[in-house]
């Protein structure tokens, strides 16, 4: 059911499988409301290579071939290669998965032949775009092929801590600065600095001041530097030792919590070390809550919750998350049932929307037909047994949804 595109040969970009649920194409993608709903129908068609030309009969597209972006995933900048079939005015557009325009880069009039365009990972306002999956396309004439790329890295800054002699730590300031603190003993100094993390440094955006890089800041003489480094190491080791001695007291996962008026308890934990977000919904129900004679409900619901809700047709839950580069699953024990989604940070909106729809809008979709299906079998009108729910491994290919299958569902 895979519809490859000649335009995308050689790229490592994955594709939506739309053949299993063609209705998906007509659904506006979700939006967090910042710029309204966007109909991605044409994008989807192009992405799977179905809309090879939207220009009509006989018209040759201006863009002959859109190549991969390198590097991909990228941190600071990525270079997109493409080939123009004829001289035309072109521009590069970056969209996020909700269809919002992130950045538009006019490329001017380009001659026929190979070209490249560079995206520095920033949006129209000059802010660093959130890590995650983005769609890029080169727009020329009335044809705009698009491919996907992934941005990684979120923090342009990494905190560097410098220690005073005797282990006193100077807290870094809130801005990049250098503080020299003479001490009575004649030792110099400690300073604080924020250093740009080299992996995602964008030379174009680096201020040209001395304070802007570690090398520039590290100006004290070598012996002093050595002393500072040694002291810092010693302090770290000492700190590590005390953490060990304190045992579990050294483990800290800070979080903030609040409860919605409807009773939903929410815990938020901020960790920017990787550009990933994890959403985990715990329902405080498990097989321990089942009544004799009506057992199996808890695990059954773990499956029903993936089978579609009022605004998420059957199959969409997994498909949309996979398209965003996220994975999901759930599990059931005697005490609780949990559902999680892990993925790029910019898929958080999608995750929460999907999770909320099945919490608030599952009942309207709970029909006798679906109930019969979820108990293990589905029988279509043609008499062929067909699995209608995405209750196999979340890593399965989308096309398996439409594969006739004749087994009992024993586990997700």
């Amino acid at each position: 059911m895979y519809a490859p595109s000649s335009l995308q040969s050689g790229s490592s970009v994955s594709h939506w499988d739309v053949s299993a649920t063609p209705d998906l194409l007509m659904e506006p993608f979700i939006s967090d409301g910042l710029s309204g709903d966007v109909d991605l129908t044409r994008w989807l068609l192009e992405d799977v290579g179905w809309a090879s030309s939207t220009g009509g009969g006989g018209h040759k597209p201006s863009v002959a071939q859109l190549g991969p972006s390198t590097p991909n995933p990228f941190g600071a900048t990525t270079t997109i290669s493409f080939e123009m079939r004829e001289t035309a005015s072109a521009e590069l557009e970056i969209h996020d998965l909700a269809g919002r325009l992130v950045k538009r880069l006019p490329l001017g009039t380009l001659a026929a032949g190979p070209h490249t365009a560079v995206w520095n990972g920033q949006d129209e306002q000059g802010r660093h775009a959130r890590p995650g999956v983005y769609l890029y396309r080169v727009h020329a004439g009335d044809y705009s092929p698009s491919l996907r790329l992934v941005r990684v890295g979120v923090n342009p800054f990494r905190r560097w801590e410098v220690f005073l002699p005797f282990g006193r730590r100077i807290s870094p300031g809130s801005r990049r600065d250098r503080t020299v603190a003479p001490r009575a003993s004649g030792h110099v100094v400690a300073f604080t600095a924020y250093c740009r993390r080299s992996s995602i440094v964008d030379p174009e955006t680096l201020p040209r001041s001395r304070d802007s890089s570690c090398e520039d800041v590290m100006t004290p003489s070598i012996p002093i530097l050595k002393r500072i480094v040694a002291r810092a190491l010693w302090s770290r080791l000492a700190a590590a030792g005390s953490v060990q001695a304190a045992g579990a007291a050294g483990l800290s996962v800070p979080y903030q919590t609040f409860t919605l008026p409807n009773g939903l308890q929410v815990l938020l934990h901020e960790d920017h070390s990787v550009p990933i977000v994890s959403v985990n919904m715990w329902y405080h129900v498990g097989s321990g809550d089942e009544r004799p004679g009506r057992t199996g409900f808890a695990h059954l619901f773990e499956h029903i919750m993936f089978m579609g809700s009022q605004h998420v047709p059957t199959g969409d839950f997994d498909q949309r998350l996979e398209a965003a580069g996220a994975e999901n699953n759930g599990s059931t024990t005697e005490d609780r049932t949990n559902y999680y989604e892990d993925g790029p940070a910019n898929a958080l909106t999608l995750m929460l929307w999907l999770d909320s729809d099945r919490m608030g809008y599952l009942i309207p979709e709970m029909t006798t037909e679906r109930w019969t299906c979820s108990a293990g079998w589905c029988r279509t009108s043609g008499g062929r047994a067909t699995r209608t729910s995405p209750t196999v491994s979340p890593r399965r290919t989308s096309s398996s949804v439409s594969t006739p299958i004749n087994i009992r569902i024993t586990g997700r």
């Binding site: 008026p261 939903l264 815990l267 919904m281 321990g288 409900f297 619901f301 929460l352 109930w371």
Partner: protein, 225 residues
């Protein structure tokens, strides 16, 4: 499956309306987030979900086994397996982590005692697993091993008993964390001997399940030292 076949659509809906409510759920968001923005998204998407009825749970009476229980289940499986299960403590109780550390020593990874003997040295088992599973009301420690073809479960059980019996006084001190130290402190092996060692061996079968009682002895002797 009989229960599910007998259930009506109304039964299923009622289960959902009772338990799948915002007031019976906890949402955890972790990672690369802006907490203020994440909160706005949560309020936007979950704020309109109506509150459900308050969930009431009866407290079942405490459970304990007065003697060891043996069960044998035969089925058309390729390899036989033996399970040893001890009634232990609930999740997040003081002994919960200690028992987890103990099961790691017994069967956590390829350098663990049971793996080394059963799988690597004797080569009579394909697999050995041990874990502490603490729940809301209670918990269990389970050790199970899958036999290699041609090796009866008696052979495996003998080694499991030996390792379980000898482990308490032979575990070297571990300094990485307080939890491990607690579990690794040398102690009497009375609990293991009583619950796992004195009972009659299960006979050969396709699949064997063994449940051992004396939960309080097990956890007390092992942990509360």
């Amino acid at each position: 499956m009989a229960d599910l076949d007998a259930a009506s659509l109304a039964d299923v809906k009622q289960f959902f309306k009772t338990y799948y409510t915002p007031n019976n759920a906890t949402l955890v968001i972790g990672g690369d987030i802006d907490p203020a923005a994440a909160r706005r998204l949560v309020e936007r998407y979950f704020g309109d979900v109506p509150r459900g009825p308050e969930v009431k749970r009866a407290t079942p009476p405490a459970f304990s086994l007065s003697n060891d229980v043996y069960g044998t289940l035969e089925d058309r499986v390729q390899l036989p397996r033996v399970y040893n299960t001890w009634h232990t403590v609930r999740a997040f109780s003081p002994d919960d982590a200690s028992l987890s550390a103990l099961t790691q020593i017994l069967a956590g990874g390829k350098t663990s005692r049971l793996y080394k003997r059963l799988v690597y040295e004797l080569q009579i088992a394909n697999q050995v697993v041990a874990f502490q599973d603490g729940g809301r009301l209670d918990g269990k420690v389970e050790i199970f091993a899958t036999a290699k073809p041609g090796h009866p479960l008696d052979e495996l059980q003998k080694v499991i008993d030996e390792e379980v019996r000898r482990s308490p006084s032979r575990v070297p001190p571990i300094v990485s964390s307080s939890a491990s130290r607690t579990a690794a402190r040398p102690t009497s092996s009375a609990a293991w001997s009583a619950s796992a060692g004195s009972a009659a061996r299960p006979t050969s079968s396709t699949t064997t399940t063994t449940s051992s009682g004396r939960p309080t002895t097990f956890s007390r002797t092992w942990i509360a030292r």
